[in-house]
């Protein structure tokens, strides 16, 4: 890339909040791995602000360091002055994609595989068939490394395809009405998790009436800086649920949930939509936010359950600040068999499509996560995001620990019942 001067793109009222104190450095997974301040939140903000104030032009390596950010927002959670790093990152990525000529393979990867394929369930289903076939025949070695890594992330075919509830069932009793956001990737790879999520909601006393089907919420677009597309998807999602009579929308993917809770930020310049987004966002709940209402029968002590640990999905703990509810549930059920995971809130490298776009760092973070998990002696890892599940499963496999199970908290909760 030749160096490019970007026009200003940051909301300075917000970006000025960074006073360069550096307290964010040591929670940043990429900085912990490389030790390079260009890969730290403070460093990236320094670069973003410099670009925004036209102090220096955009170069390939600056763009690389912005690309390498996981968007896990661990820095936001510890920032003393409340810098909205996630928003700055999305704005910067948006500005960069406007002006940068990506190399063709990169462009194909981002536009076709990440933004189209992952968010188009039927296409994804078709694409997975030859991939699974190759894996079964042991032919994946023939693929280029990046593709091979992607194929390795695909979970084994579930033995059954349980049906999620069909859209718009009759509203039954006078219960609080919930809608389910079943997500695009989950509906292909983890249909069982969607069903378990419905079961958790119903056991917690909600009547589940509406399923968003395989609509994409736009998180993957927002995170990579494709804000116009994210807006389009957000509007479709908001409109869909506006036409229903639900009180809450239950989500089982942390990245989707955080984006949906932050929809209003996408419409800062559009007051009508901002208001509609505000209304919608106030109804969004991660599935871990309703588990406290589970009946006692589901929270009974299970002393026979193996030693189990919990991995915090970034967009659940850092973006939605949910850390206590899942732990409380697990502690109640497992007692002493619940064990804390060292660095539980350091990103596993999945980060939406990161493990596809940045395979090298993703692999290092995955190995770090696997090492920490193995150190606990746990036989089961519970988490709340399917991206993490795919990444951690692959990482545990590479570390030779395929006997450690990794499971979504909704599945785990309903399994604990048996």
């Amino acid at each position: 890339m030749n160096s490019i001067q970007l026009p200003p793109f940051l909301d300075r009222k917000k970006s000025d909040a960074c006073v360069h104190c550096g307290l964010c450095l040591q929670v940043c997974p990429t900085f912990l791995e490389t030790g390079n301040e260009n890969d730290s939140p403070r460093g990236r903000i320094h670069l973003m602000r410099g670009l925004d104030e036209v102090k220096f032009p955009l170069t390939e390596s600056i763009a690389d360091h912005i690309d390498r950010c996981l968007g896990c927002r661990a820095c936001e959670a510890v920032c003393p002055s409340g810098v909205e790093y996630g928003g700055m990152l999305e704005a910067t990525r948006h500005a960069i994609t406007q002006h940068r000529k990506m190399r063709l393979p990169q462009q194909l990867l981002q536009k076709v595989i990440v933004e189209r394929m992952l968010t188009w369930p039927n296409g994804l289903r078709l694409a997975v068939i030859p991939a699974r076939g190759m894996r079964r025949l042991g032919l994946t070695k023939l693929l280029p490394q990046r593709l091979r890594k992607m194929v390795e992330l695909i979970p084994q075919k579930p033995t059954r395809f349980p049906q999620a509830p069909s859209s718009r069932q009759e509203k039954t009793e006078a219960k609080v009405a919930a809608g389910i956001m079943s997500g695009c990737v989950a509906s292909v790879f983890f249909p069982g998790t969607n069903q378990a999520t419905v079961a958790v909601a119903e056991s917690s006393g909600y009547s589940v009436d509406v399923d968003s089907g395989s609509r994409c919420c736009g998180a993957i677009h927002a995170h990579s800086g494709n804000l116009p597309e994210a807006r389009k998807r957000a509007q479709a999602m908001i409109e869909f649920f506006e036409n229903t009579e639900i009180d809450i929308v239950v989500v089982n993917a942390a990245g989707c949930g955080s984006t949906m809770k932050e929809y209003p930020q996408l419409f800062n310049n559009n007051s009508e939509w901002k208001q509609r987004a505000d209304q919608f966002s106030s109804k969004v709940r991660d599935v871990t936010e309703i588990v406290e209402y589970l009946p006692i029968s589901l929270k009974k002590k299970r002393p026979d359950h193996p030693r189990t640990t919990y991995h915090d999905a970034c967009h659940l703990c850092h973006a939605q600040h949910i850390t206590e509810q899942p732990r409380a549930l697990m502690q109640e059920i497992l007692g002493n068999n619940f064990i804390e995971l060292p660095e539980s809130d350091v990103c596993c490298g999945s980060a939406g499509s990161y493990n596809i776009t940045q395979p090298e760092l993703a692999q290092r973070l995955g190995a770090r996560k696997a090492k920490n998990i193995i150190s606990t002696g746990a036989k089961v890892v519970v988490t709340s995001n399917i991206g993490c599940i795919m990444q951690i499963r692959a990482s545990l496999q590479s570390a030779g620990a395929q006997d450690i199970a990794i499971i979504h908290i909704a599945d785990w909760t309903m399994q604990a019942k048996k």
């Binding site: 006073v19 550096g22 040591q26």
Partner: protein, 479 residues
């Protein structure tokens, strides 16, 4: 600034690996300053070594080529201690960040220099031990940096600053020699001869690069009593501080926050601080449970005697942690008030605190700048945070002038221009005001024993040092 010659870069890459040498101008930008952002200059290169041997080899290459070296940890210094004034090669210890071993029987930890302060306590906790010095940046700052600036922290009032907790350390001298100062990892605690370990602590990276440190661990107290005393005025709070200390009670920590900072912190953390208070004190007593009750009662009555509106006690460990989180992140929280701040850490005798605080509020009014205060009241270590906007050159000039007046007042009242942040580049001009030429010559002579070429972290601390502006005119700050 001339780039480092290619063949030298190749040599450095040969030692630490290609990805661990940063030399492209666009990748050096982020290393142009630390948390002190008024002066900036990018180094010529940054190396990220992974071991003592790699540090030594890289330093030797720099020595051979006459390149300055600047040791850097997490870059949280508030006084420009790791600014590359005249370029040079930054030796960053961020990849050497492990806790190597914990020895609970001897209450010691062996760590690498890039190990984060709080990680030591995290690793020692299971043995009911902790690393006592707790700078407010402890979640990010490194042990190597703590040694360089002899860092303090809220709890050093009772437990002592960094030097009281460093048994010994390994250092690479500016010529590449590896030495060990003080107690060795397997050695006894008392050693003979002059205390070179003590001399090097607080030398602001001018003696060499610390590559390993042996730390003293301290038992976690049986109990804490943490109080929040709310006052109408800073004066009243200051008087309560003096009375508590004069009574013979040694609190583990005794911190003050004034009205402006309370508002910033409250807006960020929603702890429940009263927004109309003039000042609050955070007072922590710790030790054996027996006896703590009486001290707590005494402390509360001292506060009330000095017109405290209310004294609350933290009821749970969680509440205590929340309170400390608010205090320790207060500096950053001023980002809510202003895009830039400059902080000084002058020290005055405790009895002079009320006078000093009145002076700061006077300076604030005269220069038309907000100056909130959050500081270690127990040891008279003030931290006025001078707020300014770097896009307004007139404000920068006023902020610098205000800071200088405050530091001069500290000296005048019998104190010092820095308690813990270090001189760096920021306070060089005050060295000659605080010390006699003979004092300075002695310090200089000591530095030259370790670094005769004055190539290690040059242009820091000593008057007459060059400034960034002397080398690169266009980077001169508009002051």
């Amino acid at each position: 600034m001339k780039p480092v010659p290619t063949h030298v870069l190749r040599q450095l890459e040969g030692v630490v690996g290609k990805t661990n040498v940063i030399a492209q101008p666009d990748e050096l930008i982020v290393y142009e300053c630390d948390a002190y952002t008024l002066e900036r200059n990018a180094p010529q290169a940054v190396v990220l070594p992974g071991s003592t041997e790699e540090v030594a080899e890289a330093v030797r290459i720099c020595a051979h080529n006459g390149l300055p070296i600047i040791p850097r940890g997490a870059g949280t210094s508030l006084s420009g201690t790791v600014l590359a004034v005249d370029g040079g090669v930054v030796v960053a210890t961020t990849r050497m960040n492990r806790v190597l071993s914990i020895d609970p029987r001897n209450r010691r930890a062996l760590v690498e220099p890039g190990c984060v302060n709080i990680w030591v306590t995290r690793a020692a906790q299971q043995h009911r031990l902790h690393y006592a010095p707790d700078p407010s940046s402890q979640m990010a700052c490194t042990i190597g940096g703590n040694i360089a600036t002899n860092s303090g922290g809220p709890h050093t009032l009772k437990y002592g600053v960094t030097t009281n907790h460093i048994l010994g350390f390994q250092m690479v001298l500016p010529d590449g020699q590896i030495i060990w100062l003080g107690t060795e990892p397997d050695g006894g605690e008392d050693i003979f001869g002059p205390d070179l370990r003590g001399a090097a602590i607080g030398s602001e990276g001018m003696f060499g690069v610390v590559t390993q440190a042996l730390l003293r661990l301290t038992p976690i107290p049986q109990e804490y009593r943490t109080m929040l005393a709310i006052f109408e005025t800073v004066d009243d709070a200051s008087r309560a501080v003096s009375q508590i200390i004069a009574s013979g009670i040694v609190p583990a920590a005794l911190e003050m926050m004034d009205g402006i900072i309370i508002q910033a912190v409250e807006e960020r953390y929603h702890f429940g601080f009263p927004l109309d208070a003039g000042a609050i004190l955070i007072i922590e007593l710790d030790g054996l449970t027996a006896g703590l009750g009486r001290q707590t009662e005494q402390t509360i009555s001292f506060c009330l005697e000095n017109n405290a509106r209310q004294v609350r006690q933290a009821q749970t460990e969680k509440e205590r942690n929340e309170l400390w989180k608010c205090r320790k992140r207060a500096f950053g929280a001023v980002g809510k008030l202003s895009p830039n701040f400059m902080t000084h850490d002058g020290v005055v005798p405790r009895s002079k605190l009320p006078e000093m605080m009145r002076f700061i509020s006077d300076v604030s009014a005269r220069h038309g700048l907000q100056i909130p205060n959050v500081f270690h009241a127990g040891d008279g270590n003030v931290h006025p945070l001078i707020l300014y906007n770097e896009r307004d050159p007139a404000q920068i000039r006023r902020a610098i002038a205000a800071g200088h007046e405050i530091l001069r007042k500290c000296i005048q009242l019998g104190g010092s221009v820095t308690g813990e942040h270090g001189i760096g580049v920021e306070k060089i001009d005050f060295m000659a005001e605080q010390f006699t030429p003979d004092d300075l010559d002695a310090m200089h002579a000591l530095r030259n024993v370790f670094d005769p070429e004055e190539r290690c972290n040059p242009h820091k601390m000593f008057p007459g040092s060059m400034r960034c502006a002397d080398f690169v005119q266009r980077k001169q700050i508009p002051a």
